[in-house]
Structures are given as C-alpha cells and as structure tokens.
C-alpha cells in the first residue's frame, strides 16, 4: 500500500481500488464505486469517465485530462526534458530511485506533471495536469520546474494558464526541496498576474496538502469537479487531532462551495465549454462558438 492510500479514508480506498480494476484494458465491464452500477467501458469512456447513472467522476490520467480539455491540433509539451534526481539519497523501505522507476513503469510518465501549450476552442492556453498515478501526484522539484516553465511560456506568449490538480501533497522523498516547490510554483504566478493574464485553477479528486496550500487556491477562478476531496490536512490526521467524527461531506467540493472556498463546481462534461467561456470573458474576447 502506498503512503497515500494509507492516508486516505476507507471510502476513498474502496473507490481507488475499484478504479484500478476498471482501468484494466481487458475489463469490458466495471462497477461504479459510488452507485455500484455495472457499466460498459465504452459507455464510460464516451461519457468522459463520468458514471452515466450517478454522475460520479472517476479519476483521470494527466494525458486523458489534457485530451479532454485542449483542441486536438497544435499542442506541444513543455518541460518533458526535466527529470527527477535523488539528491538526498533517500531511502525508507524502498530507495527513492526505485520508487521513481516503478512509477515510471506503471504510468509511462517521467514525473507527476504534464504541461502542454495548446488551445481551447482556438484560444491559446498553457495547461498543466497532474498525474495522480505517479507517486500520488506528489510535488517535487521536477513538478515545480515544469510548472514554472509552463507559466513562463504562458507569460512569454501572452496566454492564460490552467492548472489541473490531483495530488496527495509534497513529495517527502525530496525533503525540504519539495516544500520549497510550494513557494516556487506560487511565486511564478505573480508574473502571470503582472502580465494581466488569467489563471484558472481546477481542483480534482484529490487535491491535498502542499498542492492545495500553494498555487491551487490562488487562481483568478477556482473550479472544482463534483465530489472531489480537497483540503490541507488529510481526513485521518484531522480525526486523530480533534478526536471526533468528521461531518458528512467534509472536504468535498460541495462543502467547499458552501464555505465560500471555491468559485464553482463544474461537471466534467461541461468543463471545456465553461473554461472557454470564462477565459473569453476574462480576456474580453467575443463569445466562443
């Protein structure tokens, strides 16, 4: 069990387990972890991995995410040349380089963030999507550098920046370097702001810890997907600290909306349209077709 799965409450563990099963290529049928309806894989895919019965939003891979959001043409990746190193010679039950190799083998990604320059309905943007399957989407030096290069590209080209978070937080294997990525990523966004360019932050399941407590909430517009777990401290840590049961729906998107922490909740199937609309409004562009 990874450190992140251990951190999550049992309900999410179930969801995760179920999801892993559903992503098996030979699995034609899968069960929705939320309503337990049996779903046909093709239907689920057509529906952008949203359960057609109950609307549960399944987790997505970084590239799936970007495929859904960006126009198919004119994309190119930023920061893929930036790769992780083990500067602390970190070893717990496993060596950090081994964990990196395993994550690489499991996801075919070299770290937990994929950044692309592209367009949404022909409006140029730079978008950065987290790969949660890569060490729990944890934020280390590579993620920070790719993020910053993405923001810099947006500034240089006068384009908006979109981040799509899915992370358990900082990457402990990089010690204080990982904590500093909170400051680094957030600082880069001040340049975007100076240039008068919009920053849209999308929070997906889960957005926790150091990622939640840095760039995720400083968006000009902060959007969450329905039912996503979003917060600073993990539910288990909070339960242990306050020694009481957490209220129903605690740290879910709907709870955050009610508390005034986010601007809006958007169904994944309407996300592309909404983001296009918001970007057009913020940049005083004509309404998108």
């Amino acid at each position: 069990m990874s450190w992140l799965t251990k951190l999550l409450p049992p309900k999410i563990k179930r969801e995760q387990g179920a999801q892993r099963r559903s992503s098996l290529p030979e699995g034609l049928w899968s069960k929705c972890p939320s309503c337990e309806a049996v779903l046909y894989a093709t239907d689920l895919e057509k529906n952008l991995q949203v359960c057609p019965k109950c609307g549960h939003h399944h987790r997505l891979r970084a590239r799936q995410r970007l495929d859904m959001l960006l126009d198919p043409e004119g994309r190119f990746e930023i920061g893929a040349e930036v790769l992780p190193v083990d500067s602390l010679k970190f070893k717990d039950s496993k060596r950090y380089p081994d964990r990196l190799m395993e994550a690489n083998a499991a996801t075919d990604e070299s770290d937990s963030l994929v950044v692309m320059q592209g367009a949404i309905k022909t409006m140029p943007v730079v978008a950065a999507a987290f790969e949660f399957e890569f060490m729990g989407g944890s934020m280390g030096s590579v993620l920070g550098e790719r993020f910053v290069r993405g923001v810099q590209t947006a500034v240089d080209n006068g384009q908006p920046f979109i981040s799509i978070a899915a992370s358990g937080g900082a990457r402990m294997q990089e010690g204080l370097f990982s904590l500093m990525q909170m400051a680094k990523t957030t600082a880069a966004l001040t340049k975007l702001s100076e240039a008068g360019l919009p920053y849209i932050s999308l929070l997906t399941d889960p957005t926790m810890g150091g990622v939640s407590a840095s760039f995720a909430f400083v968006g000009d517009v902060v959007i969450a997907e329905p039912g996503a777990l979003i917060g600073f401290a993990g539910p288990r840590v909070i339960e242990q600290t306050v020694r009481e049961t957490l209220p129903a729906g605690f740290q879910r998107s709907e709870f955050l909306l009610e508390k005034g922490a986010i601007d809006l909740i958007v169904d994944r199937r309407e996300l592309r349209d909404k983001v296009a609309q918001l970007l057009a409004l913020l940049q005083k562009l004509p309404a998108a077709a």
């Binding site: 450190w3 251990k6 951190l7 990746e77 040349e81 930036v82 790769l83 992780p84 500067s87 602390l88 010679k89 970190f90 717990d92 039950s93 280390g140 030096s141 590579v142 920070g144 550098e145 900082a170 402990m172 990089e174 010690g175 204080l176 370097f177 990982s178 904590l179 500093m180 909170m182 400051a183 680094k184 957030t186 600082a187 880069a188 966004l189 001040t190 810890g209 150091g210 939640s212 407590a213 840095s214 995720a216 909430f217 400083v218 979003i230 917060g231 600073f232 401290a233 993990g234 840590v237 909070i238 600290t241 306050v242 957490l246 209220p247 605690f250 740290q251 508390k259 005034g260 922490a261």
Partner: protein
C-alpha cells in the same frame, strides 16, 4: 528556572545534580570544597561540549522543541524596543498561535511576525501549541501589507509543528490562507528576513517564511513533514522517526549545504534554552547583518533577487526528450 534535560543529556544532568548537592553541603560546612565544585563545573561544560558536538538530527529536533526554548515573544523583549502587538485578521478572530506587531530594531521601525508557543499546559492550549488557523495567517498577511504600505522591513520568526489540522481550520480555508501568503510574500515590496527559531514545520512554517534572507538557529529544524509523520507514512511506524530525521535532512548545517538557507545562527553551549540572553544577543547580531545586507538594495533589485531565489529551489536533471 530549573533546566529540564533531554534524554541524551542525562550524563550532564547527573553531574549538575552532584554539583548542586555539593553547593548545598558547602553552605554549612567548614571545609572549603569550592575547588571541587569548580572542577566539576568545568567537567560539566566539557561534557556538554562533547555531547553537543555530535548530536543526531533526531536529537536536534528534540532540542528544537525544547519546552524552555525561547519563543517569539521572548525575543521581542530582548531584541526590539517599543514592541506594540497588533491583533486580529479583521475578518474572523485573533489567532494566538501567531503574534505580530510594530517594533523598533536598533531604533528603526520594523514589523515583527512570529509563531508563538506556550510554555505550561494552560499557555500551550491558549497558543494552540503554536499551530495557526487561517485567521493567524491572514493576520500575518494583514501585517505584511501594513509594513509594505509604510515601507517597513518585515522580520519573521518561525516556530510551529505545522498549521492546525482541525475541522474549523479547514472550513475557513487553511489551504487558501497559506497559499495566499506564499503569493503575496513573493512580491511584497519590503525586505523580509526569516529566522527559523525552533520547529519549521511544513506549510504552516513556510506561510511566513518566504523571504530575502532565510536563516536558522543552530539547533532548529525545517522540514516538509515532521520526522514522526514521515516515519509513520513511509516506514509505517512512528518509531522510525530518528531514521526519517536523518534521511530527510532537517538540520541547519544540512540545509545550508543543500543551499536552502543562507546562514546558521550559533546557539549558546547546550542550546538556546540554557541562556536566553546570549541567544538573543547572537540573533540580534545576525538580524543586524541581514538587515544591512538587504537595505542596500532598491525595491526592484530586492524583488528580482527574491524571485531568482525562489526559482532556484529544486534539484533535477535535464535530458533531451526521446
């Protein structure tokens, strides 16, 4: 105040107890044993020197949390004059885990902001063990903006196990409060001098620790997660905390080598808690140097250097994409 000793200081504690006993005996004794006492005192100092010369990161993290260690308000009285504490975030409450206010440093007006822990149980609860809620970070932010408006340098003192992991803190936007501070501190138009005085616990520490100079007291720690937290997640056992402390690199010398902090401020023999006055003296000198260093810069130079520092954080390699 009677010094409380940590486990690894037991030999010093035994010796000190013996000295104390001899002193007591001497008071009503005809024989002069002052020579013996002074011999033992020298021995105790040497013992402390030996023990402190080879502290492990885990021992250092215990020192960083020592209950008698000087906290922010212990320094405000010794290093600053005219300290006027300012309260509240103007929106919800006054968080006592973060204190701040106007003060003079060598006569120069500055803004002081720091985490505040409590010493006895009652005070610990009052200060929430130095774990701020969102309103604490928002108070800090308000004071930083105030400093910016009047062109006052900001001096922050970091000493927290972390931001408070509670239901109310989450409800009021702990994440946003921390993230907002990181954002604003990156572009605040006055110098920010950061000193880690005890525990630099994760995001809750960083939220007042983005600055132009970042220094650490000799036996303070700064880490992404507490050694216990790291151990219980990665080793599945909090008892592995000493290993986690070792491997994460949380001590001042290690972080200086890694280029993550600028300076280490020496502590008196046996740690800051043994001699608050001497510690304050060292810290005052370090702050003076730091302030002198940043005062020579124009606002644009200051901000450019701060941005460059922030962007330099991280270790990675670059390889052409296949």
């Amino acid at each position: 105040m009677k010094t409380s000793f940590l486990d690894f200081e037991q030999p010093i504690a035994d010796l000190e107890a013996k000295i104390e006993e001899l002193r007591f005996v001497q008071d009503d004794s005809a024989v002069d044993i002052s020579e013996e006492i002074s011999r033992l005192e020298k021995k105790s100092a040497q013992l402390a020197k030996d023990i402190y010369a080879k502290l492990t990161p885990w021992q250092i993290s215990q020192l960083a949390r020592h209950p008698q260690r000087p906290y922010t308000l212990d320094y405000t009285g010794r290093i600053f004059t005219d300290f006027e504490e300012l309260h509240g975030d103007r929106a919800f409450a006054d968080d006592r885990a973060i204190v701040g206010g106007l003060a003079r440093f060598n006569g120069q007006p500055v803004m002081v902001i720091g985490h505040q822990k409590g010493r006895d149980t009652k005070e610990k609860i009052y200060r929430n063990f130095g774990m701020p809620r969102p309103e604490g970070y928002r108070k800090a932010l308000r004071l930083m903006k105030l400093a910016e408006k009047f062109g006052l340098p900001v001096m922050t003192f970091v000493d927290t196990p972390g931001a408070y992991p509670g239901i109310d803190a989450e409800e009021r936007g702990q994440s946003e409060a921390i993230g907002r501070n990181l954002y604003v501190m990156a572009e605040l138009k006055v110098p920010i001098i950061v000193t880690i005085i005890g525990e630099g616990g994760s995001g809750g520490a960083l939220a007042i620790a983005v600055g132009d100079i970042v220094q650490m007291l000799q036996y303070s720690t700064y880490s992404v997660i507490s050694p216990e937290g790291c151990a219980s997640i990665l080793w599945k056992s909090a008892e592995k905390a000493p290993e986690a402390a070792e491997t994460m690199g949380i001590t001042a010398p290690r972080l200086k080598t890694l280029g993550l902090i600028d300076k280490i401020v020496s502590e008196p023999l046996g740690g800051a808690h043994r001699d608050h006055a001497a510690m304050a003296q060292n810290l005052r000198k370090a702050l003076q140097d730091a302030l002198k260093h940043v005062s020579g810069l124009s606002t644009s130079e200051l901000l450019a250097a701060r941005y460059e520092r922030l962007m330099s954080y991280g270790r990675f390699k670059e390889q052409p994409v296949k």
